[in-house]
Amino acid sequence: MELLPTYDRYHRQIILKGFGEAAQQKLLHSKVLVIGAGGLGCPVLQYLAAAGVGHIGIADDDTVSLSNLQRQPLYSMQHIGQLKVEVARQKLLELNPDISIEIFPFRWQPQHCVEYFPAYDLVVDGSDNFATRYMINDACVLLGKPLVFGAVGQFDGQLGLLNALQTDGSFSCNYRDLFAEQPAENAVANCAQAGVLGVLPAVIGSMMATEVIKWITGIGILPMNKVIVYQALSQEIFSISLQKNTTAAALIPASIENFLAMEYAWACEEPGAKFAISIPAFYELLDSMEVAVIDVRNYDETPVIDGFADRRIPLSLLENHLAELDAEALVFVCQTGVRSLAAASLASKMNPGKSVYSLQGGMEAYCAQRNLNHHE
């Protein structure tokens, strides 16, 4: 009898009032696609796999880095440099070998929504940028898929069940009914810039997994037309009601064709992104011409640069020192590559003839790359 170990595995939830074998069967036959295997994705994936969601898709193009481990406990030291989706699949199958897992190790694009969403019952958005968030939302609206979204920043988080079919046949509010227009990516600082309490995505991700399980099994009250907001510092939860927003509806592409033609990444590209230089290209540049590397972080920021010569001029003071920089090419560096973009824009404006660059990902990426090279 193959049923027995299955029954044993899920016993603690099967015996719940209103759950039973029927709800468990619904979970075992469900298909959930989780986009983003980071801070929110980890707890969502772990609890959905543990609960017996029969088929889970995981999309993420990122590799594990040391700064992920503070809030992504699916990964360990030995996984640094490996694809998150590969590690996640292995760990989840160790946890529950009775489920199946499909991985998508690439940056999610509009055509992937159209190709893969129809095969899933529900989509989970655990992404870390607005381009992906708005793309997933619009695709779910166009394709009629329910969406559980979550987002975190510093000490606060938000989540909600969006675009779910209601008893009257209409769909509940979506992300654009809350925030109609896609903000510029640099208008709202991300976790790398503003920080995030490590346990916060675990709280929000677990609440997201709860809503996925409730939606699949039909238990409880679904938080439709609401966004739930959680403040870790006060341990307060707020439920904020939404209503359909006509401005928002007009911003969603009218058809799949229009959706595929949307430039979500473009809409929120940071000004000055054209100055970005990758780490390998940066090394080549150092070898090929006279380069001045300017660290635009404040004087007290660490780690200090080693491996190449640099000069530190905090961004706030840069304008007064630009005239002194007479090297053929200027490369600006900061902690994550955001301030250095602003510095490059400024330098290019003040000195249009000069080659100006901003080191992509900043010192965090540089140090991660160097550690990786040491490991190899």
Binding site: G36, G38, G39, L40, G41, D125, G126, S127, D128, N129, F130, R133, G150, A151, V152, G153, Q154, D156, G157, Q158, D177, L178, F179, P183, E185, A187, V188, A189, N190, C191, A194, V196, P201, V227, V229, Q231, L233, S234, F238, S239, I240, S241, L242, Q243, N245, T247
Partner: protein, 75 residues
Amino acid sequence: MEVLFFGQLTDITQSPKLTVAAAADTDSILQQLHAQFPALASATYVVAVNGQVIQHNTPLEANTTMALLPPFSGG
């Protein structure tokens, strides 16, 4: 009346909760807040009144709670 702030808006206000002088409508409160915290004027957020997101200027009654909720990008 009470105004709640979330996420990075609390970096601007230095507090998740402020008590402000009562006013006739939400626009008046926002004007008051923008004068006190100029950085709020350029921040992205939606306004909720008594737990309901509003899309237009809304009259306020006594004992109303307003909340300013920004989008979060992190995952």
